[in-house]
Amino acid sequence: MWDNIAILTAAPVFNIQLLLDGLFIGATFALAAYGLALVWGVMNVKNLAQGDFVMMGGYIAWWLGTQGIHPLWGLPASIVIMFAFGWAIYVLMIRRVIDKDMFTSLLATFGLAIVLAQALNLMFGPEVQTAESDFPIRSYFDNSVTIADIKVVAFGLCGLLALAVVLFMKNSRMGQAIRATAQDARAARVMGIDTDRVYAFTYALNAAICGAAGALISMIWVIQPFYGISHSIRSFVIVTAAGFGNLPGVIMAGLGLGVMEQYGGFVLGAEYQQATVVALLLGVLVWRQIEMRRHRQVVQ
């Protein structure tokens, strides 16, 4: 561990590599987390199948890649497919979960996560996959920093998608309806908004966002049927740290998580990368608790 820290201080260029890798991957985390913040904030559904939606999106892009279609075309494909899938899941189960207590949505979506992970495993096998995008890999700083062009492209696409979602939420009729429902579902219903449709759209939009994130992850990183749960936990870490309805917070937390994970994996060893995510989750939860305790004291 100390040896690795020594490397970082001796060769600061490594920091740039880790930092950039962290930012590129963190952007996709932020995208998926924004979807979770959306369903959590609007519908009060804690979607533990979040990561498995991401993996589904990834497998759609990867599968198209094996069929000879460039995986970048998998991005719109997985957005469309996942949107329809999310809508179907809403109609089949989420609709019945919304007005139940908090644990119901968590456990129901956990059941969904098991189903999806296993279905992906049975369809595509348990191997770790990467969609080949055939972009060149460039080196900078005298060959000490290597960056695949696809990562830069994916980063840009992440930004564009986030911008599109924000503009949609701000300006479109449906976006306004979603925000109104989030503020007060009952009042929105009185005003003539079909909240059931709004919920369905929100959940489908979340699935589409996850699908997009997954398609990008399949190109710049790896996908595997059972990695869904760690992506779900990442989304929870980010949303818990940032709070919902706080888009800049979600972006910062997402990028920060990506960077911290890269550093954790490098300093402690790759086998600790998974543990770093979970440790961060516990850290964030404990920190929130301390915050809440302080808040309680102020109220008293």
Binding site: K46, L48, M93, R96, V97, K100, M102, F103, T104, S105, L106, L107, A108, F110, G111, L112, A113, I114, V115, L116, A117, Q118, A119, N121, L122, I229, I233, F236, T240, G269, E271, Y272, Q274, A275, V278, A279, L281, L282, L285, V286, R288, Q289, M292, R293
Partner: protein, 343 residues
């Protein structure tokens, strides 16, 4: 505490005592059934009676398993050297050494798990609702990952447990009856616990934690004790299960979060959470279904499990016992006001 009811308890007792002799081939399967009953009962202390739905109770199962293994090995030899040999060192235990190690191991596992629960309780019980569920899930996942990197206890390669110094049949009988006794003890303890002031207090926490606190219930203390009770029995079950399989390894055997960890939730929900008999019934039903169908599904059993959870949670939330209570309230001593019912 529940009175001895010959119609209800006697068949189960007879089944438990006679099963290994009637169906010797299935001794281990039935032993696992008792472990499942214990799982469901301990999960329900938290999830059903107290309203704190933990997804990470399996952590204590693994903790107990590892504590017991370490104590058993440390009784005879150096743990680091033993695990480093990857099961290459086979130590011939005498009967006395083995049983002393086993007894101490089980006690250490139970007490150690309960102490870990008490220590963790101070940090996790500020979390409510979904945060608690996710936080505990995180603990169980992290434990599996971290144990996999700890070389002293064998890392990802695991530990082979000390070999039983007798016949294989003898081992099966011994651990069968230990599992049965552990399940019965858990049942009796829960039954007693729910009849005391403690049971009322944790029910009050489930119904409204703020109000309970305002009424003077020291909620954090009750929550921590309830978790420690769960952990105590889970530690015992882990110690026994580790010895039954004979080989422990962090991800699949000791901290199987997505198998046993979810089974315990599914069983309690299926039987009806918040009741004493619900988890037991759910465990029986689930285990029999699983044992009968597991081999014929060819990988789709996990999909079936997920679907079972979804259907159970979304459409049949009260579980079997809850449904029976709604249907035949008079059988459970619940008096329905005739007037109200008529309206």
């Amino acid at each position: 505490m529940e009175k001895f009811n010959p119609k209800l308890h006697l068949p189960i007792l007879v089944f438990g005592l006679a099963a290994p002799f009637v169906v010797p081939g299935l001794t281990i399967q039935v032993a696992v059934l008792w472990v499942m009953v214990l799982f469901a009962l301990t999960w329900d202390v938290m999830g059903g009676q107290m309203g704190y739905n933990s997804l990470g109770n399996i952590f204590f199962f693994g903790a107990g398993m590892y504590i017991c293994a370490i104590v058993q090995v440390a009784f005879i030899t150096d743990v680091g050297a033993y695990t480093a040999s990857n099961g290459g060192v086979k130590i011939p235990f005498t009967h006395q050494e083995y049983f002393m190690g086993l007894i101490c191991g089980i006690i250490a596992a139970a007490v150690g798990s309960a102490l870990i629960a008490a220590a963790l309780g101070w940090t996790v019980f500020g979390l409510r609702g979904p945060y608690f569920a996710i936080g505990t899930l995180g603990i169980a996942l992290a434990a599996g990952e971290l144990m996999g990197t700890w070389e002293w206890v064998g890392g990802g390669g695991g530990i082979s447990m000390p070999v039983y110094p007798g016949s294989a049949d003898g081992k099966a009988y011994l651990f069968y009856f230990l599992c049965f006794a552990a399940a019965v003890a858990t049942y009796l303890f829960c039954s007693w616990l729910y009849s005391t002031r403690f049971g009322l207090a944790i029910n009050a926490i489930r119904d409204d934690e703020q109000k309970a606190e305002a009424m003077g219930v020291h909620t954090l203390r009750y929550k921590t004790i309830a978790w420690a009770v769960s952990a105590f029995f889970l530690g015992i079950s882990g110690a026994l299960f580790g010895n039954i399989t004979g080989f422990i390894e962090p991800l699949e055997v000791a901290f199987p979060t997505v198998t046993f960890g979810i089974f315990m939730v599914a069983m309690s929900l299926l039987g009806g959470k918040g009741t004493l008999w619900g988890p037991v019934l759910g465990a029986f039903l689930f285990h029999f279904l699983k044992e009968f169908t597991w081999t014929y599904f060819l990988g789709w059993q996990w999909v079936a499990l997920g679907v079972l959870i979804i259907v159970n949670v979304v459409f049949f939330q009260q579980g079997i016992m809850g449904w029976l209570m709604e249907k035949f309230p008079e059988k459970f001593g619940i008096v329905v006001e005739k007037k109200e019912a008529a309206e």
